[in-house]
Symmetry: C2
């Protein structure tokens, strides 16, 4: 979910030698190549899902996974079990979720974007519900690993490092 | 989710003096009063949801909450944000989720029901997806407190007791 600390988790994995693929980056690359005049990234994301199916970003990511030829890859940005199913066709999948209480997530987002007056807790709640309508709640509920990010950054980093070590020795 | 340790969490809250209302019990009481001949509990649950709306069990639970006249009540068995919204009309709500990795949940359920040959991991996965279709993933994703139950019972109990103390002093 937005503001959960997912990006910091992905960064820590990368720093520890994991190959990380961001589904957001894959979408942006595809957008730069194929966008229509004046189309926004969000509009593009909705259009290609409509035209090519809900799994399109996962399918593009799968092509990237095959290219990089790594034993283990961390995929950042899964939004639904449909996407997880696409990755399961490429190999064994383990889901890592990062959880923060909504109150904390909203605080972090509002602090990061202090100059943006349009942001409010009500708007953030609505964005949460939009994310959830894609099915991300099901992915979180079925996570193989749950990283809690409800205190400080140092604790989060320690939790992530512990998981990285466990997964490396797997 | 089934096998997550939710019942043990509710028991610990009860032992610590919290008033606990089980939505499963509320459904069963309503079933005993109003069931049709030969109707099973599951059939009844589906029928009253169809006849009276998805929030019916939450509404019956709300009536019970008003009766008991307690400052704080733990409600066991919420399945969707629609139900959470019903409770929000009665007072301030904080969501507590209990998470265990699916692998562990399935192990626990299969150990508990050793004599039942019809249970399998595939069947349990399907039951998970049925639960998720009610919207429980959204509730978990928006939890204010996430209790991890991925090691032993003693650790779980310690985690729950820490939360009980925090909520009591709230």
């Amino acid at each position: 979910m937005p503001g959960s600390g997912k990006t910091l988790v992905a960064k820590t994995f990368r720093a520890e030698g994991f190959y990380v693929i961001s589904m957001g980056d894959i979408l942006r690359q595809d957008f730069e190549k194929n966008k229509m005049p004046n189309e926004s990234l969000m509009e593009y994301a909705i259009r290609i899902r409509k035209e090519k199916g809900d799994e399109i970003i996962a399918k593009l990511t799968s092509i990237e996974i095959e290219k990089v030829n790594q034993m283990k890859v961390l995929i950042d940005g899964v939004r639904s079990m449909k996407e997880v199913n696409v990755f399961q066709q490429a190999g064994s999948v383990e889901i890592i979720a990062v959880h923060s209480p909504p109150r904390l997530r909203y605080q972090r987002i509002l602090q990061r974007a202090r100059e943006d007056d349009t942001l409010s807790e009500i708007w953030l709640r609505e964005r949460d519900l939009a994310e959830l309508s894609l099915g991300i709640g099901e992915v979180i509920a079925l996570a193989d690993y749950m990283i809690l990010n409800d205190s400080d950054m140092e604790t989060l980093k320690q939790n992530v490092l512990r998981l990285v070590m466990a997964l490396k020795s797997d």
